[in-house]
Amino acid sequence: MNILKFIETFADESAMRSTGSRRDSFTQFGNIGKTLAIASIPFGLSSLANKALAKDITATPATPIGALQFALTLEYLENEFYAMALDHGVIPASENGGRDLKVFQQIAAHESSHVKFLIAGLGGPASANFVPKPTFDFTVGGTFDPFNDYPTFLALAQAFEDTGVRAYKGQAGNLISTPDLLTAALQIHSVEARHASEVRRLRGLKGWINGNERGTGMPVETQAVYNGEELTVQAGYNTATLFGASAGSEAYDEPLTTQQVVDIANLFIV
């Protein structure tokens, strides 16, 4: 199926909402990619989601649906974070001649689109595959003050975007059997990377990750976002040979496992 048709299908949210039963939403996914039909869609995910709503989220299954559910939860996090920041006015309108506000309005718009896109992809809010938004605490119990302190907001934005890049990359393997879903995920993945680069540059860093450095001004709590990025051997090739370890590690972004991302996200979920 053509990706544009796929998007059109997704965009028709009202049609998705009309699918009340799991069987119906399953059939719709069957239209998206025939291989998805044989991918296991575990029962009881909605009860998992209810548990998640009460407290921490847990790792989603290594299936195409699980990958979409996982992505949706991360997009919920990013979307709420930027929406709250814009609501609170923490981004100074005059910062860098208005650049910062333009940047975060654009990022916020993308994250909102991603949430809608993924909800539609899961069959809409009535689908058994749908996962509700967790309750977020971006202060982490009062540790951070991102909606009153702009540098803290910027630091968490960098952490969320760099996490997003690594998280989507880690789900690619779970989507290999569903080409259209994989393509859509890749298309979100590169947008997160564009965001990450710009946020990092707003903070005075390079747009790419050097070694496992979280960068100046990043709270120690965000180190888990960068651990493992220092890799300089790719498929047996030493990427540090030509220009050193910094360039070699910068040239490749590393994936995070579902559990690694869940552990990071749970810092912000109550």
Binding site: G98, Q106, A172, L186, I188, V191, A193, R194, Y237, A247
Partner: protein
């Protein structure tokens, strides 16, 4: 459709190419899209089981299909990017035309793309059954009238190349069968996207261009994804070494 990149098939895409060249600030590249200079393109005499392997077919190098085809396609694109930035950082006015931040970014991109190129060469040399005939040779490039001492032209071309790289990897992901290769492509494409964002932000800093509506769909929030034939029709304008991609979509 079996992809056979040659002039008569490229014609419908000329508008794409023109806009690409326009974006790049380039005048027409006279070498054209001679990706296939062979007069026997229509022969289908290769055994079907061989089409996954890159190599000379009917006198011209074909990228092949499947994972080897996709990796060889990526190798071709990384050769182009690496060659471009090598010329950028070695241009006579590099140190005077660009400010410190721009020099840092362009030097980093030069490093990253050369690393990507050499990585693909090493990976393919290790994975191909017979690399002596199946490894894509070093390609030759022609940038037409582009002025490597012009900040505007260099940044505009860099932007086009990086955006093209993102769209290429995004479009090629679904063609990859090995999960390991898919993750490797994923490790690279996000760095290309970081590059594209940075270059766009150097060109137009006080804006949303780093992830502008021209590349990220404003409704879906999705970046561009394109098939190899679409990418080669555009990027091929810089590549003068003939090759075909008959077995990639």
């Amino acid at each position: 459709m079996k992809n056979e990149v040659k002039i008569h098939e490229v014609n419908p895409l000329l508008s794409d190419r023109r806009s690409f060249l326009k974006i790049s600030g380039l005048t027409l590249v006279s070498t054209g899209l001679l990706l296939a200079g062979c007069s026997h393109d229509d022969n289908e005499d290769m055994p079907i089981d061989d089409t996954s392997l890159p190599g000379i077919r009917n006198g011209v190098f074909d990228l092949g299909s499947g994972d080897f085809g996709v990796l060889t396609y990526a190798y071709a694109l990384e050769q182009l990017e690496a060659d471009f930035y090598t010329k950028v950082v070695n241009a006579s006015s590099f140190n005077s035309v660009f400010n410190d931040i721009e020099k840092q970014v362009l030097t980093d991109l030069y490093h990253h793309e050369v690393i990507h190129r050499d990585f693909f060469k090493a990976a393919l040399s290790g994975a191909l059954p017979k690399p002596s005939t199946q490894l894509l040779p070093s390609l030759a490039f022609n940038y037409g009238a582009m002025n490597f001492n012009s900040r505007t032209e260099v940044l505009a071309t860099a932007k086009a190349l990086e955006d093209t790289g993102v769209a290429a990897y995004n479009g090629a992901g679904k063609l990859i069968k090995s999960a390991d290769y898919l993750v490797l492509a994923g490790k690279i494409v996000s760095v290309e996207a970081r590059h594209a964002s940075a270059i766009r932000s150097l060109i137009n800093p006080n804006s949303k261009d780093f992830a502008g509506d021209d590349v990220v769909n404003a409704t879906t929030g999705l970046d561009v994804a394109k098939d190899p034939s679409k990418i080669l029709a555009v990027a091929g304008g810089f590549i003068t070494t003939p090759f075909t991609a008959k077995y990639l979509p």
